[in-house]
């Protein structure tokens, strides 16, 4: 008889304990492959046994013990592996002294290993979702619309490279840490953004599975590094973006831009949490970096009950601050959108026109330009710009919105 309680317990403990179990096995056995397989086998055993035997009093400890036993069984079966295991221990014993001011946590080490810069970005994303997120290979394959075998090979190759090249399972040294930490946040933000606005043309335009998972992983990183401003900033940015999701797609599958969203549909709980995190960063007095500034911009947007109530001068000031840190054309484009509200579309259009060389292949550049031309009463120019934007867009909901706007232009 399948017991719903036991199944629920397995699901819950999988969500809360998977990363911890994989990370602790990786430390003990020095091999991601062994850790992953043993953890998966332990959960499979739990699914088999808990409905009949009952849920153990400490499910996490039961799974850790079971997984350790599975790993040792496997190592005994494969003597060759044992040599590698011993070798891995030799590597770890030469670890430099522990870092100052950094919480040593197996999961944190594992995150840094999975997001190592020697791995391709797509491998970092896949490994992070598998090893830390506990998603199965078919789940990750589905999320990125590739074959299970392709995703399986991608993860196997990444694990093989970690093993063969000696990517260490430890915290980066103090001088490497800022760059490596930024790299981890980039992986999490990429996962979130693929969920926020899928770039895959035949996928659902909003991939809740990916954005939800990215938030969960960022929460974990925030728990591990509570004093880190950029981790807090990224979590706030994700929460304030996710809060608007219920208003972002119409029943007809069209993407709704910020100015047209029904703000009563925004998730007030997520907004409250995001605002709290932004306030926490402001109170710290530390100079904000990229994600914190982006979070603050989103906090201004989500504080306005209507688009007209938006404090555009505050938003422009934040974009100015962001431009000083990151003078990229995409930041300049987003700043121009805010300038259009503050100083009018003609001022914004002058800025946008200057970005043509840098952003000619970027759909949002043409979409922004088209909207500005429409507002300036230049429908013929706007039509051409919408056509450019549609040709460069892959997200179906975005194409639907752009097409409607183009077709609504006065002749």
């Amino acid at each position: 008889m399948p017991s719903p309680d036991a199944q629920e317990a397995v699901t819950h403990v999988h969500r809360t304990e998977w990363a911890r179990i994989v990370a602790s096995l990786t430390r003990h056995f020095g091999d991601l492959d062994i850790a992953e397989d043993a953890a998966a086998e332990a959960f499979a055993t739990a699914i088999e046994r808990w409905p009949a035997d009952g849920v153990p009093p400490n499910p996490g400890a039961w799974l850790t013990t079971t997984a350790n036993r599975k790993a040792i069984d496997r190592i005994r079966r494969e003597q060759k592996r044992l040599e590698k295991h011993e070798e891995a221990h030799v590597i770890h014993e030469t670890d430099p002294s522990p870092q100052h001011g950094i919480i040593e946590d197996d999961r944190l080490r594992l995150i840094f290993t999975c997001c190592h810069p020697a791995l391709a970005m797509e491998a970092r994303v896949a490994l992070t979702l598998r090893m830390i997120g506990g998603l199965t290979v078919p789940e990750i394959a589905r999320a990125f619309l590739v074959q299970d075998t392709t995703m399986g090979q991608r993860i196997s190759r990444a694990k093989a490279k970690i093993r063969a090249t000696g990517i260490p399972y430890r915290m980066p040294t103090a001088d490497d840490l800022p760059a490596r930490h930024t790299g981890v946040l980039a992986v999490l933000y990429l996962i979130f953004n693929e969920g926020y606005l899928s770039t895959t043309s035949d996928a659902h335009p909003i991939r809740t599975d990916l954005s939800t998972e990215a938030i969960r992983l960022t929460r974990l990183l925030h728990d591990l590094l509570p004093a880190d401003g950029e981790t807090t900033g990224l979590l706030a940015l994700m929460l304030l973006t996710e809060a608007r999701r219920p208003a972002r797609i119409t029943s007809a599958g069209e993407l709704v831009t910020l100015d047209e969203q029904d703000r009563t549909r925004w998730d007030t709980t997520l907004i409250a949490e995001g605002h709290q995190l932004v306030r926490e960063r402001l109170a710290s007095g530390a100079s904000p970096r990229r994600y914190q500034i982006l979070a603050a911009i989103n906090a201004v947007h989500t504080s306005a009950p209507t688009i007209r109530d938006t404090d555009w001068s505050q938003i422009v000031a934040l974009y100015d601050q962001l431009t000083r840190r990151d003078p990229s054309p995409i930041v300049a484009l987003n700043r121009a959108i805010a300038i259009a509200e503050l100083d009018g579309p003609h001022v914004a259009l002058a800025i946008v026109e200057n970005l043509r060389d840098a952003l000619a292949d970027y759909h949002a550049y043409h979409a922004t330009r088209a909207d500005l031309l429409r507002r300036l009463g230049r429908p013929a120019d706007a039509r051409i710009a919408y056509d450019h934007a549609i040709a460069l867009t892959t997200n179906q909901a975005e194409i639907a919105t752009l097409t409607r706007r183009r077709d609504q232009l006065v002749q």
Binding site: E87, I91, T94, D95, H116, P117, A118, A164, T165, G166, I167, P168, P172, T173, D176
Partner: protein
């Protein structure tokens, strides 16, 4: 673990004149830290000769086996605990010799 650090050279590379001294200093540090195994530079790819004795007769051909813009200019063999330490050394090596560096571990 032992790693091969290959120096990737190309025709467009412009030497500053400081490379020799910088590489010497880097090599001294490698020895002092116990990472040094071997290192040397190579002459130009035009000096290469390819030998193929997979068939009945050995075939000896002048020139590199692949004509490419980029070529192997030299290499280090180092012995370090892990890739992170190797990456740090490669960062210094690339600056010292003013060229790109490729890292590959040796088969254990």
């Amino acid at each position: 673990m032992r790693y091969l650090m290959s120096v990737i050279d190309d025709d467009t590379n412009v030497d500053t004149g400081n490379e020799m001294a910088a590489v010497d200093a880097f090599n001294d540090q490698l020895r002092a830290d116990g990472y040094w195994v071997f290192a040397d530079g190579l002459t130009a790819p035009e000096d290469a000769t390819v030998v193929d004795n997979r068939g009945e007769q050995p075939i000896i051909t002048d020139g590199p086996f692949i004509e490419s813009k980029e070529f192997l200019g030299g290499f280090w063999i180092i012995d370090t605990p892990d890739l992170d330490i190797t990456l740090k050394l490669a960062v210094t090596a690339s600056k010292a010799c003013n060229r790109k560096i490729e890292i590959r571990p040796f088969n254990v």
